[in-house]
């Protein structure tokens, strides 16, 4: 449960750091989820499906970048537009590819999808290790992604440029950093990861596409970036926490403990609001967040 939030969150962390607020995260994940299933179906491989999903995410992110960075359009408006587009286009394509049924398409063709050895190995390991330990694979993977991002963002020149562009693009431009290129780069990167996160939902968790199946996970990923205070380890922690909440929710529902599961679903959002309000320590996003950079 934490995985898609972590993958997407880590991607959008980079674009946020460069001063780009992309609320189209939800739409990018949705596109990725559909492209993953369609790609896996036609190319007969889950790995190629994942690749298709990442390319779809990249393409949508490119549109976002073109409109917001090159044409200085409002990031929020374009992000909202992408979400609406994703809802419409994925539903339409889904119905055309898999028939006009209102119910999720019949599963058979998806069950026989050849899953790659690596995924099988994960589930085999998962069988060996107990249910508790099977979660740890995700944690290990996550622990691997987070330090990598941390190193990249805080110990390389590109990372420094990204952070600088998010704080004061004008100064960056003056010293010769190409603001447009940095923003394009981070947005495209976030698209790749966002698409992959979508594919994780449709190929890894469910193995079929369902209309609006991301169900707000894109927004949770953005929330994880804010709650994680714009740092890789913060995003990791937030994703694990929110993911734990999501899996706790399904267990609580099954157990019937009397705790309304809706409140657990609400928790990530409320926590994020509290963080923003400064109840959980100081939290300040990049200074140039959401502001288009217009070269004078």
């Amino acid at each position: 449960m934490a995985m898609p939030i972590l993958i997407a969150g880590m991607g959008f962390l980079f674009s946020e750091r460069a001063g780009v607020v992309n609320i189209g995260a939800e739409g990018i994940m949705l596109f990725g989820a559909l492209a993953g299933v369609v790609g896996a179906l036609y190319l007969n491989s889950a790995w190629l499906g994942l690749l298709a999903a990442m390319l779809a995410g990249l393409l949508v992110a490119a549109i976002f970048a073109l409109l917001t960075v090159s044409l200085h359009a409002d990031q929020i408006v374009v992000g909202a537009g992408i979400n609406i587009l994703a809802a419409g286009l994925t539903t339409t394509v889904n119905r055309i590819v898999f028939g006009m049924n209102a119910t999720p398409p019949a599963i058979p063709s998806f069950h026989v999808l050849p899953f790659p050895d690596a995924l099988a190995r994960i589930s085999w390991l998962g069988e060996i290790l107990s249910t508790i330990f099977s979660q740890n694979i995700l944690v290990y993977l996550a622990l691997f992604i987070a330090p990598l991002s941390q190193y990249f963002l805080f110990h390389t020149e590109i990372g420094l440029k990204i952070r600088a562009v998010g704080e004061y693009p004008k100064a960056c431009d003056t010293v010769g950093i190409d603001v447009v290129r940095v923003r394009y780069g981070t947005i495209l990167f976030s698209g790749l990861l966002g698409g992959a996160a979508g594919a994780y939902l449709s190929l890894g968790v469910l193995s079929f596409f369902m209309e609006s199946m991301t169900a707000g996970r894109g927004f949770i990923a953005l929330a994880a970036v804010v709650f994680g205070k714009y740092t890789p380890y913060g995003v990791l922690g937030a994703a694990l926490l929110f993911g734990a909440g999501l899996s706790l929710e399904s267990r609580l529902q099954a157990l019937g403990t009397g705790i309304p599961y809706q409140f657990i679903l609400m928790a990530p959002y409320i926590l994020t609001i509290l963080t923003l309000a400064g109840f959980v320590g100081r939290n300040k996003g990049p200074a140039a967040s959401g502001i288009p950079y217009i070269k004078e």
Partner: protein, 351 residues
């Protein structure tokens, strides 16, 4: 205008690429939205909430705020209206309707006010808080209708029906058209009156255009923010309230169908002006109500409407900029022309 045409053309191409008949789709869409008394009534029914949520976005935008929270404000407005509709019995119908609608306004307004307060008090970005509050509202409704407000014996997650006296009057026999559309039109007029004929409205526009200048002029940007977020939330709340009181007659989970997000497209296309919002809401209302017949007869999925709407948003977002650049160039040209006669050879300096 060009954006809308372009969006229609692209949507037509998509329909064509899907191997479906574009002409029949268009015909059925018009037939389904304007072809009969009932069709027109349904179009007007779809138009009402779009006006409300369009206003919710536009009002905040006029104050320099981004209100992505119409969806959540709509849910809370529906909730408070339903509470008045369910639990206050024995009122004369007009009074009961009025109270329920007002409750919807106040409920949605407070939900919007919360984001405004978080911004003013803690500097929290209203973009994020309104998005987050959307989900909080949605899960709150889900909880209430399957918990405390659930209709016994609890077979379906829904509330008891509202009392008949609180149901909004339906005035066109044989259709579901109710007085909510008049409330929406009234709000459009009030929106105009507030922004361009009152002091608070004037201050709102100044704060939206330049908060620092507003401060220097002795205005309080923070009170404008609070007021606007309350009013904007209230408008979105009315969308939920009129839907519950006029059509649904009870509270159900996920009753909104994304009308809150449609408001962004409406306000954007309408350039945050009353007339613009009116026409944009009419356009999307027609498209939405015609889409059902189109799906039935031409096999074009209803979701094409979302694509159309998204394309409008993206094209408008891009075209505003094209327009701005064109204007800046025109100004620069004019400046060059003005300075030319005096110093023909001087290099023109344009900021």
């Amino acid at each position: 205008m060009a954006s809308v045409l372009l969006a229609f053309v692209v949507s037509g191409v998509i329909i064509h690429l899907c191997g479906l008949d574009v002409i029949s789709a268009a015909k059925n869409m018009i037939e389904g939205s304007l072809g009969s008394k009932n069709a027109i009534a349904e179009s007007l029914l779809k138009m009402g909430p779009l006006i409300f949520t369009g206003l919710a976005y536009a009002l905040a935008a006029r104050c320099g705020l981004v209100n992505i929270g119409a969806e959540g404000q709509l849910y809370i407005g529906g909730l408070t209206a339903a509470l008045v509709g369910i639990y206050i019995p024995n009122l004369p119908a007009p009074l009961h309707q009025l109270f329920a609608v007002l409750a919807g306004f106040v409920g949605g307004g407070l939900w919007g006010f919360l984001s405004g307060w978080l911004k003013v008090r803690f500097g929290s970005s209203e973009v994020i808080t309104t998005i987050m509050l959307n989900y909080v509202a949605q899960y709150l409704i889900n909880y209430l209708v399957s918990g405390p407000l659930e209709e016994p014996p609890g077979t379906f997650p829904q509330s008891r029906p509202i009392v008949e006296s609180s149901q909004l009057t339906r005035f066109l026999p044989g259709t579901r058209l109710h007085i909510g559309i008049f409330i929406a039109l009234l709000c459009l007029v009030l929106f105009y009156f507030f922004l361009w004929k009152t002091t608070h409205g004037y201050e709102t526009r100044v704060v939206g255009a330049n908060p620092e200048a507003a401060s220097y002029a002795g205005m309080k940007p923070s009170s404008s923010v609070l007021l606007c977020m309350f009013l904007a939330g209230g408008c979105a709340g009315l969308a939920g309230a009129t839907d519950i009181l006029g059509i649904q007659w009870r509270l159900m989970p996920n009753f909104s169908n994304g009308a809150g997000f449609d408001g962004i497209a409406v306000a954007l296309l309408g350039h945050n002006t009353p007339l613009g919002i009116f026409f944009a809401a009419a356009l999307f209302g027609i498209v939405r109500s015609g889409a059902n017949l189109m799906q039935m007869l031409s096999k074009v999925p209803v979701s094409i409407v979302n694509i159309l709407q998204a394309l409008v948003v993206l094209f408008v977002a891009a075209s505003n900029i094209v327009f701005l650049i064109a204007r800046r160039r025109a100004i620069a040209r004019a400046a060059r022309r003005d300075s030319a006669p005096e110093e023909p050879n001087a290099p023109s300096e344009i900021p």
